[in-house]
């Protein structure tokens, strides 16, 4: 971690997000509604100019974590600090300022923009909202320059078009460019390429990488595709049922995963497995629901290493010699 001496751009402390279970039958009438623990106590730090990957199966709470970071939702418990300031306090004091610091790129570029506005209106809107640029001409020029720099030429032509006239790749670029016009401190990209054509995925990832390098923006890249995360992120967190189970330098973790869940994820990803001969570790069974996951390790019922202890107590987070943190009874840090 080269930036470890610097103060983190973002520090999440004990962040939790519970949902009341939707629906419920008539029989459950009068009973207390059950809670879904979508994000169940997450701590991490993010530094300037860093791409931080978050991986895990679908339903493990990645998107919820993303929504909490950009304050589309409030955490049920815990808080997130931006440059040391509590996001709760920031939102109370000046929500506009907060939203300018923290931007997002969403999974579905086809639905990211209101269908009735032109790209010009869509891109100029945040500038106008935050009082950037003196006149509409100046703002238009800024957008044109951003489009040109982002490889969308001729820019003037794009400004006059409507979202439905553009491809997914073009829309996702515009989404990134628009966010970057606000010069944010931090950007969440939630599965930014999963809905795009395979042929344009690399371009979009490169674009994020370039912006991160040139503007020093901290980026959280959420993905279920380990290959993407490994390719661009310096550090990675592996999530399982709302909790981080392993976190550290991407290369270290991918080369030598210590948590059985991470091991299983990586061995199932053919393009990555460093040891080609090794048999893929099968994860048996469905992921348990994030409703009352039980006292033991959440992964215990699917874990190939599970022992008695695993069903009794949740393993604590331990810091290993190489700097990573792992939460598994078998990762003691003595090895």
């Amino acid at each position: 971690m080269p930036d470890a001496v610097k103060a983190p751009v973002i520090k999440a402390v004990g962040v939790k997000r519970y949902y009341k279970q939707r629906g419920g039958s008539l029989l459950s009438f009068g009973r207390k509604p059950r809670m879904i623990q979508a994000v169940d106590g997450v701590d991490f730090e993010l530094y300037e100019g860093e791409i931080f990957g978050v991986i895990g199966e679908s339903g493990c709470g990645k998107s919820t974590l993303g929504r909490l970071l950009i304050r589309l939702e409030e955490p049920s418990e815990g808080d997130i600090y931006f440059r040391g300031e509590s996001s709760k306090a920031l939102m109370k004091k000046d929500p506009k300022k907060f939203h300018r610091m923290v931007q997002a790129v969403f999974q579905n570029p086809f639905d990211t923009f209101t269908p009735n506005d032109t790209i010009g209106e869509i891109m100029m809107r945040p500038l106008r909202l935050h009082g950037i640029g003196k006149s509409d001409e100046e703002r238009r020029a800024m957008c044109e320059k951003a489009l040109e720099d982002g490889g969308l030429k001729p820019a003037a032509d794009f400004l006059g078009r409507f979202p439905h006239e553009l491809s997914g790749g073009q829309l996702q670029r515009i989404s990134i460019l628009r966010s970057m016009l606000l010069e944010p401190l931090f950007l969440v990209a939630d599965e930014p390429v999963s809905m795009l054509d395979v042929s344009v995925r690399a371009e979009i990832i490169h674009m994020l990488q370039d912006l991160c390098a040139s503007r020093r923006t901290a980026i959280m890249l959420i993905s279920h595709d380990i290959a993407v995360v490994r390719y661009v992120s310096q550090r990675v967190a592996v999530m399982y049922l709302g909790r981080i189970v392993e976190m550290g330098d991407t290369d270290t973790i991918i080369q030598n995963p210590m948590h059985p869940y991470t091991q299983a994820l990586i061995s199932n990803c053919s393009s990555i497995d460093p040891d080609e001969d090794k048999q893929a570790i099968e994860i048996q069974g469905e992921p348990p629901s994030p409703i009352n996951p039980g006292p033991g390790c959440y992964f215990a019922n699917r874990c190939f290493k599970a022992c008695e202890k695993c069903f009794k107590s949740y393993p604590p987070m331990r810091t290993m010699k190489d700097g990573r943190v792992v939460s598994c009874h078998f990762a003691t840090g003595d090895e």
């Binding site: 589309l72 300018r100 931007q103 969403f106 209101t114 506005d117 032109t118 606000l182």
Partner: protein, 283 residues
């Protein structure tokens, strides 16, 4: 500029996809011409009490006959189109605006706001609206303004219910999340993203609302609760009612025209609904 072009293209597409909508719009254009050029089209002054009392159609240049007071029925029908259309459109607009705002508020804010508004909508949907209108008009008088207001203020719940559902689904769309994360306030999200994107079904419903309002006004007039100082088709039916045996033309033609205009607005509304149906759009 691009925007006007886009709306135009979308409308053109809708008009092309629905024969009903096309016919409705053509007839509506004809009615509008009549409304605008009423003074030049009407052969007589509709308020002028002539010497020909209750003469049948075709007598002395009175194509559709005269009333018991000697007014020319055709001229009354031409001028009456103004009142009927004005009442229909104004009250449907009132109902559309109230319904859109309340429905959008309830659907977007949810929680307590939604509970309260939904309760009000349910109450309005339960009470027999026509009797409510009758009572209010009987109490506050039957001027044209009152009639417009009362119809508008009692017919918004169907629009509100529709807009509420629209708002509830649109607020989950990515472009709303992205607008919030860009720093738009709740009010800006409501007026710039939710309402414009959910409005089309309400426009279709409001068009049908015009037809319903015209019918309500006619029913009120039929019961003697219309504005007696304004010539409207409903009022003509009411006044001709007692002469049905001796001068059927006094109310029959007005009745036919009410039927016609109601059909026109149903055609437009239904055609819009058809053209908006996403399943149809793909074809």
């Amino acid at each position: 500029m691009e925007k006007i072009k886009k709306v135009g293209v979308r409308l053109a597409g809708m008009v092309r996809s629905s024969m009903q909508l096309r016919m409705g719009l053509i007839f509506f254009a004809l009615v509008l011409l009549v409304v605008i050029f009423a003074p030049s089209l009407a052969p007589f002054d509709p308020y002028d009490l002539g010497d020909d009392l209750l003469v049948p159609p075709g007598t002395n240049g009175h194509w559709l006959g005269t009333t018991n007071m000697g007014q020319d029925v055709l001229s009354m029908i031409i001028y009456g189109s103004r009142a009927s259309l004005a009442i229909g459109i104004v009250s449907a607009l009132i109902s559309g605006v109230i319904g859109t705002l309340l429905g959008a508020f309830a659907g977007f804010y949810g929680g307590k706001v939604d509970k309260v508004v939904s309760e009000i909508i349910n109450i309005f949907l339960m009470i027999p609206t026509f009797f409510l209108i009758l009572i209010i008009v009987a109490l506050f008088g039957s001027s044209m303004i009152n009639v417009m207001l009362v119809i508008g203020l009692t017919s918004w719940p169907s629009n509100a219910r529709m807009m509420r559902v629209q708002a509830m689904s649109i607020k989950e769309r990515t472009f709303v999340k992205s607008a919030i994360s860009m720093g738009e306030t709740k009010r800006q999200v409501l007026f710039k993203y939710i309402i414009p994107n959910g409005l089309f079904p309400i426009i279709a419903n409001t068009t049908m609302g015009v037809a319903k309002a015209i019918l309500t006004e006619a029913s009120l007039s039929f019961l003697g609760l219309g504005d007696p100082n304004v010539i409207s088709w409903g009022q003509m039916i009411y006044e001709g009612k007692q002469y049905l045996a001796t001068g059927w033309w006094m109310s029959t033609f007005a009745g036919l025209f009410i039927m016609l205009i109601v059909m026109i607005f149903y055609m437009i509304g239904d055609g819009l609904n058809f053209a908006l149906n996403p399943k149809m759009k793909k074809i």
